[in-house]
């Protein structure tokens, strides 16, 4: 297994405000698998994504990637782990406002010694025309493409997507999903996507449904659809 999670637990607060957000999560993914994490607000899906991404820590449990355990990593090692293995895409694109599209993508490329070609990435994202624009000169969809480019250009082993289409209309959302699908197929990246949108699950290899901090369903999608055909 490429990614394995074993009894991941996480809680917040103390006393009256104590909330157990993750109550022992177990699952594993193969390299290149596209996994969708579904669940209502407060189900713990973003927290789980953050723990996998090494920007939050579990109270207990073990995560291994390609045989390396994350549990004993200190902050510096976690940074190296993120640098080496992960790409992040957020609902709010978090692009750097005074860097151009191309430069924002270079921000990702700089981190990796096996980075993809920035020009090719710009072409793939359909941003060639906009490569010298600042983020605020572009639409939301274009900005999210740029954010995807920044995450992908470093050629990560795992791409973590936190509601990447949450702020987009359905047409733009489909474009973004098509792009993620292409990336998954082209670069064999493992993708974990958190979403509220039930329709997106149809394009995933694996679907994990969370509720109240536990996995309610974890199954392989036998009838996988393309991003083009899902009903958004």
């Amino acid at each position: 297994m490429f990614l394995e999670l074993n009894q991941i637990k996480k809680s917040f607060g103390k006393g009256d405000t104590h909330v157990e957000v993750l109550k022992g999560i177990d699952f594993s993914l193969e390299k290149g698998e596209f996994c969708v994490l579904l669940g209502p607000s407060g189900s713990g899906k973003s927290t789980l994504l953050n723990i996998i991404g090494g920007i939050d820590t579990a109270d207990s449990g073990v995560i291994t990637i390609n045989g390396d355990s994350m549990s004993e990593m200190k902050e510096k090692q976690l940074t190296q782990y993120r640098r080496k293995h992960l790409g992040y895409i957020f609902q709010r694109y978090n692009l750097i406002p005074n860097l151009t599209v191309r430069e924002n993508i270079e921000v990702g490329a700089y981190l990796s010694d096996k980075s993809l070609d920035v020009n090719e990435m710009i072409e793939l994202l359909g941003l060639h025309k906009h490569r010298n624009k600042y983020p605020n000169q572009m639409s939301g969809g274009q900005q999210q493409r740029c954010a995807i480019g920044r995450a992908l250009v470093k050629n990560p082993d795992i791409l973590l997507c936190d509601e990447p289409t949450g702020a987009l209309d359905s047409k733009t959302s489909r474009e973004i999903l098509k792009l993620i699908e292409t990336i998954n197929q082209t670069y064999k990246s493992t993708i974990i996507m958190v979403t509220h949108n039930d329709a997106i699950k149809d394009m995933a290899d694996r679907i994990i449904k969370l509720k109240d901090g536990t996995i309610r369903k974890n199954y392989v999608n036998e009838q996988k659809l393309s991003a083009e055909t899902i009903e958004l």
Partner: protein, 775 residues
């Protein structure tokens, strides 16, 4: 691959041009001035230090009432303890028509030689070379004619005498005066034409075996003094290390250099904190980007370095340009300032590695350390918290409770103040420094004016004549000789002037260890004196208020004083304090002084008089103390420090303005989205300004008042310590309410200009700001 984030550098600078430009300008000025000052001081100090060897500056001098015989010279030169070589350094002093006194020597060839700034040394009779600074202050130039009581002279050259870098007429003077006193040289033939009663027989010496260090030099001088005292009676004995005319310049250079360094560092630290606040503000605005970068694998140090780049770049460029200005324009300005105060030899501008280190490397280092640590602390927050825009390290702070009885707008302003507490702390620190400079710049000249005015009001008489008492009167080889001398003297110094009142003048030195050694003038006054308003008994010992305050004396204290050129010590019990600030002086009856110092019943050595005394031979008059001579402290300080004080006033206003501007701008920018949202909700510009700008107004006014009160007290205490340690004399030191009011008004007007700019800024914030995505 180069870090692409670095491409933001110039865009960041452009986006925040206003703030960076202001900081840049202040830094360039501060570093330029610091560097210019240190380069000038270093170069001039080098020339000054070299002058000791180059111009053969004496190890000391002594003065006697008549020319030494060859046998005495030989005895002094060949004394066993400290063999020396003596050089005649005779001079005459004459009153010049421009109201000054000129001390004229024969052209020096062997010792204390002159540096020629312009023209040449005099060769013929009637020619003279005068001190360059005296010439400047009295608007004299080569070719002009100078007239005095002994005739007229044609000025052939402007010079600097190596033993008169500072124009102290007497080593006991509180301050030098290069307008009313100057030095000059003439040819031997010219000098011989002066009437001999003008002659002052001064001898300079060089040691046969040079002292190894200061301690040895002091010991050698003390030994030499004993040797000379055993052979002749001296009127004056001044070793080089105690000669203000020689050492004052070097000390002043060093003292000023310390002040300038402290000034540069304080400003740099304040600016580093301003940068710290600017960076914090940027971090808050870019929290989610930072979170993304950290989540993507950027290390904390990479992010820290990225955010350090703009302030470091600005500091570096400022330091570079500051240094260029320092070595060119500022060096000239600073050396001119010194040339206005001191008579220095010509100097060559030298590269000063210390100045480069102190004005460039240290500021850059300070900036690196302060910005690094403020960023390091801030960036300890987890990437997740950055992504959530939760930048509080201690978790969410509970809202501070404010009663609903407080009007809404007031509560709102209080919240703005709490939110920006760090900004206000830096503002308080900066205002303290700015007001410290301002109170220094305003209070100092006012104190000098006040001193001059009080001196005029408190003078005992328009003229005080101190008589030149022949040595034989004080102690001759035989009692008979002494009596004859005393009778001759008394006959010669009697005056017909009915307003003249006799007194005995005497002088002793202080012995307190922690306060600079100083002469105490004793006044032995007549009972029922019409000039000194004191009723004294024979056992009374009053001290002037100046003396009491400087040496912290009160009634009942015992004071020990010593003879200047002997080991005799005297102890007195203070029986009263006389409200007089004109000098460090003590008051007893004439009878008591004459008895105490064994001077004889009828002895006197001075006159108080409101009219000029014209019927005493000038050779018996040592000094005339009048308003001009009493106020030379304030006059010289006005000349030498006046320009500097104006610079200090402007510097403080600029620092004040820059800080208030930057910090209030940051507060507005921090709340840009909130201000925009308030506009959307329907708040008017003046309502919004009354919330955000007035919060800073309230704090600024409070801080202005607080810092004026604190800095006034602080400066007074600093002045007192400085004068006790460094200067002769004393004067009333206080910051008047007028000055405090002036400072308050200056502060408020300065703030009002900034507030107006901020109001314009609030008006310009668009409503779309609140609706904008973060891009």
């Amino acid at each position: 691959m180069k870090n692409p984030l670095n491409k933001r550098l110039f865009r960041e600078l452009r986006a925040d041009l206003g703030k960076y430009l202001v900081v840049f300008v202040v830094m360039v000025i501060i570093i330029g001035e610091g560097s210019g000052f240190l380069v000038a001081a270093h170069s001039m100090l080098k020339a000054y230090n070299d002058s000791f060897e180059k111009y053969d500056v004496e190890y000391g001098n002594f003065r006697i009432s008549e020319k030494l015989s060859k046998s005495v010279i030989k005895a002094i030169e060949n004394n066993e303890k400290v063999p020396v070589k003596l050089y005649e350094n005779f001079y005459v002093e004459e009153n010049i028509d421009n109201g000054s006194v000129l001390r004229t020597f024969i052209n020096r060839e062997e010792i204390n030689r002159a540096s020629i700034h312009k023209g040449r040394l005099p060769k013929e009779k009637g020619e003279i070379a005068i001190d360059r600074m005296y010439a400047d202050n009295n608007k004299l130039k080569v070719g002009d004619t100078l007239s005095g009581e002994n005739g007229s002279y044609k000025i052939t050259g402007l010079i600097a005498l190596s033993d008169y870098s500072t124009m102290f007429r007497s080593n006991d003077d509180i301050m030098f005066d290069a307008k009313k006193f100057g030095v000059a040289t003439v040819s031997k033939d010219s000098f011989d034409e002066f009437p001999t009663h003008f002659y002052r027989y001064s001898y300079s010496w060089l040691y046969e075996n040079e002292p190894a260090d200061e301690k040895e030099e002091t010991d050698m001088a003390e030994d030499l003094m004993k040797e000379i005292s055993s052979l002749v009676t001296m009127e004056d004995f001044v070793p080089r290390y105690a000669n203000q005319a020689i050492y004052f310049t070097g000390e002043d250079f060093s003292g000023d250099a310390v002040m300038i360094r402290v000034f540069v560092y304080i400003v740099i630290v304040i600016l580093a904190f301003v940068f710290g606040i600017m960076i914090n503000n940027t971090i808050q605005n870019e929290a989610e980007n930072i979170g993304t970068l950290r989540a993507s694998g950027y290390t904390r140090n990479e992010i820290i370095f990225h955010y350090m780049l703009p302030p470091l770049f600005v500091t570096f460029v400022s330091a570079l340009i500051g240094n260029i200005l320092g070595y060119t324009i500022m060096e000239k300005i600073n050396s001119d300032l010194y040339y206005n105060s001191y008579s220095l030899p010509k100097y060559e501008k030298l590269f000063n590695p210390e100045a480069f280190f102190e004005t460039t490397l240290i500021p850059v280092g300070l900036m690196i350390v302060i910005t690094y640590f403020s960023l390091h602390k801030k960036l300890k927050i987890s990437p997740l918290n950055f992504l959530r825009n939760d930048l509080s390290k201690k978790g969410r702070k509970r809202a501070f409770y404010l009663s609903r009885k407080i009007p809404f707008f007031t509560r709102f302003r209080m919240r703005v103040i709490f939110q920006n507490a760090t900004n206000y702390i830096v503002l308080l620190f900066g205002l303290f420094f700015a007001n410290f400079l301002l109170v220094f710049g305003l209070a100092f000249p006012a104190l000098l004016d006040d001193y001059a005015a009080k001196t005029k009001d408190n003078m005992f008489s328009k003229y005080q004549y101190i008589l030149q008492v022949p040595m034989d009167v004080l102690g001759a080889d035989t009692k008979l000789k002494q009596m004859i001398a005393a009778m001759e003297y008394q006959g010669a110094v009697e005056t017909e002037n009915e307003n003249a009142e006799k007194f005995t003048a005497y002088s002793l030195k202080t012995t307190e260890k922690n306060i600079k050694e100083e002469s105490v003038s004793f006044y032995g006054i007549e009972n029922n004196s019409k000039y000194v308003n004191l009723k004294l008994d024979d056992d009374d010992f009053y001290v002037s208020r100046a003396y009491a305050e400087k040496f912290k004396l009160k009634i009942g204290d015992m004071v020990t004083l010593k003879e200047e050129y002997a080991n005799d010590k005297y102890t007195f019990k203070v029986t009263g304090i006389f409200d007089y600030m004109g000098s460090i002086s003590a008051y007893m009856t004439k009878k008591a002084v004459n008895e105490k110092f064994d001077l004889g019943d009828s002895y006197f050595s001075g006159y108080f008089s409101d009219d000029e005394i014209t019927d005493i031979d000038p050779k018996y008059i040592s000094t005339v103390i009048d308003y001009e001579s009493l106020t030379k402290v304030s006059r010289q300080l006005q000349i030498s420090m006046g320009g500097f004080m104006v610079v200090v006033q402007y510097a403080s206003m600029v620092i004040f303005m820059v800080l208030v501007y930057l910090l209030s701008k940051i507060i507005i920018e921090k709340n840009q989205t909130n201000i925009s949202m308030a506009k959307i909700l329907g708040y008017k510009n003046n309502e919004i300004s009354s919330l955000y700008v007035h919060a800073t107004s309230i704090m600024s006014v409070l801080f202005i008042i607080a810092t004026i009160i604190i800095t006034s007290e602080f400066v007074v205490e600093i002045f007192k310590v400085m004068i006790r340690l460094e200067m002769n004399g004393w004067f009333d030191i206080y910051v008047s309410n007028n000055i405090k009011l002036k400072m308050f008004v200056m502060g408020i007007v300065t703030y009002a200009i900034v507030a107006l700019l901020e109001f314009r800024k609030v008006k310009k914030i668009p409503m779309s700001e609140a609706l904008k995505s973060d891009g």
